[in-house]
Symmetry: C2
Subunit: 204 residues, 2 copies
Amino acid sequence: MRLSELAEATGVSVATLKYYQRAGLLHPGTPVSRTQASYDQSHVDRTSLVRALTEVGGLSLTQVGAVLEAIEEPNRGSLGVMAAAAGATPLPVTPVDDTARAQAWVTARGWRVQTDDPLVGSLAVAWQAAEQAGIDLDEIRLDAYADAVEDIARVDLDSVPHDPQRAVRRVVLGTVLLDPLLATLRRMAQQDLAIRQSGQNVRA
Amino acid sequence: MRLSELAEATGVSVATLKYYQRAGLLHPGTPVSRTQASYDQSHVDRTSLVRALTEVGGLSLTQVGAVLEAIEEPNRGSLGVMAAAAGATPLPVTPVDDTARAQAWVTARGWRVQTDDPLVGSLAVAWQAAEQAGIDLDEIRLDAYADAVEDIARVDLDSVPHDPQRAVRRVVLGTVLLDPLLATLRRMAQQDLAIRQSGQNVRA
């Protein structure tokens, strides 16, 4: 198909497709003349993926590039996969001075996360921001959240294919793309629980 | 304190503070002369909150305005609080044609969510994006995630203060600001689980 047809098939404008190509996020088509190239299903799939990562996953194009790189790198161990997934995510990056409390909590929890892992910094930032906004969030409550999140991680890892190449793709994309899905489920569950607790009856 | 001192106290530039004021996100100071105003702790708190919502919560300034409005509106029932929290969040908004599958799942689950609730559309978008990216996500797996997320919602609602005004603030901010914290915990739990499953020993 032509570029204009790729645009039609994916709902992404020709200008944006050209931009994806310049940024190295979309591979070139097969040249059919000096000015035209032909595109196939692999271009449709890739374009849909880039779009999902930006629009649903909330990633910048730079972060999309990092995700694609992680997906395409073969022979990465399971830890490398996790690190790639964690690195390619729109988490807070503002550094905080004090990560000691976050580190102490992680250690007490027994989670095997390296002390120099950027995730510890992300946790410290998010924890501090929540408390500064007046949200009570002590270690006990954090543990209650962590208990539930471990169940989520178990579902995440249960569904990882054995084939390493597909495993990387599944973990990286699943981590990024399911964040908004889990956030949506959280809001639905809050609503349902609030209705039950208030004893109100609302027809679904 | 002066505007320049407010900037110093919060780490937000004078230009940005003026922008917050023009956008109605930061209340005016008390005039002390024709060209100067005096600012107090309430301005420090508000500025920190706006900053947390944008930098940690990932909200646009328009969304920050919606959150602040929800926080300041008194006498909102618990359902109104939930709706405000859900509405003031950076969730996918691209409409999809088919929300029937998402709606059917919500109904089967027994969650009391209105059929016209935008959350159903958000779920449909995120679900479709995940599947298009090649992530297996059937109703059974979605239920497994939902079980864990219900535990999270229970912790969310356990910590809501009885005072309605404070309750709104807690729920709205907690929903927005704890999304990135939960996303960070998810990545840590994945890492820990991957290490345990692979039998590797890594010193924490």
